[in-house]
Amino acid sequence: MLNSGDTAWVLASAALVMLMTPGLAFFYGGMVRSKSVLNMLMMNFIALAVVGVLWVFYGFSLAFGNDIGGGLLGGLDFAGLNNTVGQLVGYAVAADPEAGVAEVAWPGNDALPVLAFAMFQLMFAVITPALISGAIADRVKFWSWTLFVALWSTIVYFPVAHWVFSFDGFVGADAVGGWIANVSKLGALDFAGGTAVHINAGAAGLALAIVLGKRRGWPREPMRPHNLPFVLLGASLLWFGWFGFNAGSALTAGDLAGVAFTNTMVATAAAVLGWLIVEQIRDGKPTTLGAASGAVAGLVAITPACGFVTPIGAIAIGVIAGAVCALAVALKFRFGFDDSLDVVGVHLVGGLIGTLLIGFFASTSVNSLGADGLFYGGDASQLGKQAVAAFAVMAYSFVVTTILALALKYTIGFRITDEAEAEGVDENEHAESAYDFSSLGGIGGLGTPRPSAATAAAAEHIPATAGKES
């Protein structure tokens, strides 16, 4: 039976998650130099356009259609979003005579319209390729990136979303889901996408940064963030939207959403503190960029865990993620890959931290469908499942992304020319520049026709026709 409260929350959450992609665009856009901010915004914004269309054609179906074998990929039952209008998603409820619960046939008491669920999940599919763009700032052909987003979504994101987000008996009474999510198969816990979204995007970012190579002059030339207020604004929009991402993933406007919402808030708060403390000790100053980065690291790490841990566990995960990611962003200098905006250091590392720490901090007192981690009386079996899920997604994403990036590089080309990169990708790929603040940019009427000569005295000195407004 359709539950209107749950439906309202999922629709509102979908809109919240949609806002994360423009938020991410500003988070990233502020970190690049002023000559490439528009391209960075566009690399994110185009994901809304491309994935939004693909999701209708076959994306939703490949992710959430009935499994075609091994829990690896969904079928084409929903291609073109067929079989969705008027249909519901939900679970059957097993009878429990002791608790006085009667059996309820699929789709249960808390059913949602398929399209509400499809739009909520679309926003996840949009932001995941957008996250990758930070690894290759300043140097990519726009149409090559756009094609990459389409192909990567098709062969990496849609299958992995099926593995992680597609549950048995959800889109239909007998529907079979993915191999990572379901206890009938691996049974790893990932509440809102630590593996499918963050480890996936982080591993892909690493592959792209390696295949595409460094920016000219990196790391010798200074490439300072050009607009830190943008970065903090973007991080704040991400934090806001993430309540939809995490608490919306409860798919119900109830207790579990409250837990996920709380954990999202407190883990992020703790991660800001963790990152800033590392900076104070290491660099001597707490920075705005560090606060914004710490918030995102905390949001990433709590994403898989937010429906399975206590608020104290969430604070622990947040502070660990903030501190470790603050150190992990130095890895690119040690290994020499130009992951320009630290997709690896924040999303891959943060995603791994959150996914693995579930094996320590999960508690069935929070969610009876979860597990007990090592700190809550459980054994190491859940940690093992978490590790399998994390490394499977990381390996699949890294390998397939490498092949895809090499294929694009040697066919249509992936990088702009050295000259275009030096002049700025905005000018060369989009024929635009972001800002017009210079005094030669129009202040005082520069570039506009002069007014008629103001005085008789001036007329004696200026030829009567010179440049007058006509």
Binding site: P219, P222, R224, T287, S293, A326, A330, A457, A458
Partner: protein, 112 residues
């Protein structure tokens, strides 16, 4: 006639302007510039990576003055811009061949 050019710290500009007004100087040109002398720049840290910022912001003040006033202009700028710390800037004087007021075509000292 002389052109007095001063590179000073941005926050002393109001003081310099006040001192020149007291001398009866009727106009000046200011521009935001960047550069370094002995002060050198400073270091900024982004996600743990250090960037040295070599060029520091300064203000350039340009005043054209009659020969008789030029030394007083220099003194007024130096006194009003001094903080005693490194990075206070420089003032130099160059001879000016001619000055023309655009509106009227006046030349020489009358145009100042």
């Amino acid at each position: 006639m002389k052109l007095v050019t001063a590179i000073v710290k941005p926050f002393v500009l109001e003081d310099v302007k006040g001192a020149l007004e007291q001398l009866g100087i009727l106009g000046m040109t200011v521009s935001e510039v960047q550069g370094y002398g002995r002060q050198k720049g400073h270091t900024e840290v982004y996600r743990g990576a250090e960037y040295s910022v070599d060029f520091v912001p300064k203000v350039r003040v340009e005043v054209v003055a009659d020969d008789t006033l030029a030394d007083k202009v220099v003194d007024a700028i130096v006194e009003s811009a001094r903080t005693g710390k490194i990075g206070d800037g420089k003032v130099w004087v160059t001879p000016v061949e001619s000055v023309i007021r655009v509106r009227t075509g006046e030349r020489g000292a009358d145009a100042i």
